[in-house]
């Protein structure tokens, strides 16, 4: 079992917290009401605080260096590219549906639908960022 740095442990904890909370969201694939989305965000925040506190308390050496910062930047780049790609894809779909005339803004479910779509995009981008960082650490960079 390779030894993990403080940042790596922290990333694994973040990924685990996100998968535990957001996993059912993607598996069930239902449109969640506003309260459920807010609840998931709160659950992730609470889980992150607990996990990061445990890791910080149990890790003696919490040094971060230039390689950690480089890997962090790589992760943010991967996350940004994912988010931008999803946004372009989503806007393309929106344009196609609008052009086809099957898009009705007056539908009261439309707001919830948009909320879920944008929330899913953010979650996917964030998970991509975390996974990209973990992969960079496992490949030594």
């Amino acid at each position: 079992m390779p030894s993990l740095s403080y940042r790596e442990k922290s990333l694994y904890a973040s990924l685990l917290a996100e998968l535990i909370v957001y996993g059912p969201y993607f598996i069930r694939h239902h449109q969640q009401p506003l309260n459920t989305v807010a609840g998931m965000i709160a659950a992730v925040v609470v889980l992150q605080i607990i996990a990061q506190s445990i890791i910080a308390a149990s890790t003696r050496n919490r040094v971060t260096d230039e390689r950690d910062r480089l890997i962090e930047l790589r992760g943010y780049r991967a996350g940004y590219l994912t988010l931008a790609s999803l946004m372009v894809f989503g806007l393309g779909l929106l344009w196609m549906h609008t052009a086809a005339g099957d898009f009705h803004l007056e539908n009261h479910h439309m707001g919830i639908h948009f909320l879920n779509v944008f929330f899913a995009m953010l979650v996917i981008a964030d998970i991509t960022k975390t996974v990209a960082q973990i992969v960079a650490y496992r490949r030594a960079l």
Partner: protein, 71 residues
């Protein structure tokens, strides 16, 4: 083959230093020392100088540049 190669492992062994000892002296993580020793990570100039100083050698004795290697 990487463009920047180093003799950190060899120099460290000669001085009977562990990876953690060197990491503490330089101010990086042990994982970064491992990555440098495996030629998977080329450090910044500042860190390269710190490594050379920690090992008591000049920069050229510790790091070598090979223009034919991939960057």
């Amino acid at each position: 083959m990487p463009a920047i190669r180093n003799r950190i492992r060899e120099l460290r062994a000669e001085r009977d230093l562990t990876q953690q000892d060197l990491a503490d002296k330089v101010g990086v993580t042990r994982q970064t020392v491992i990555a440098m020793e495996q030629d998977k990570y080329s450090p910044s100039l500042e860190t390269a100088f710190k490594v050379a100083i920690a090992l008591g050698v000049s920069l050229e004795q510790c790091f070598q540049y090979d223009g034919r290697g991939k960057r």
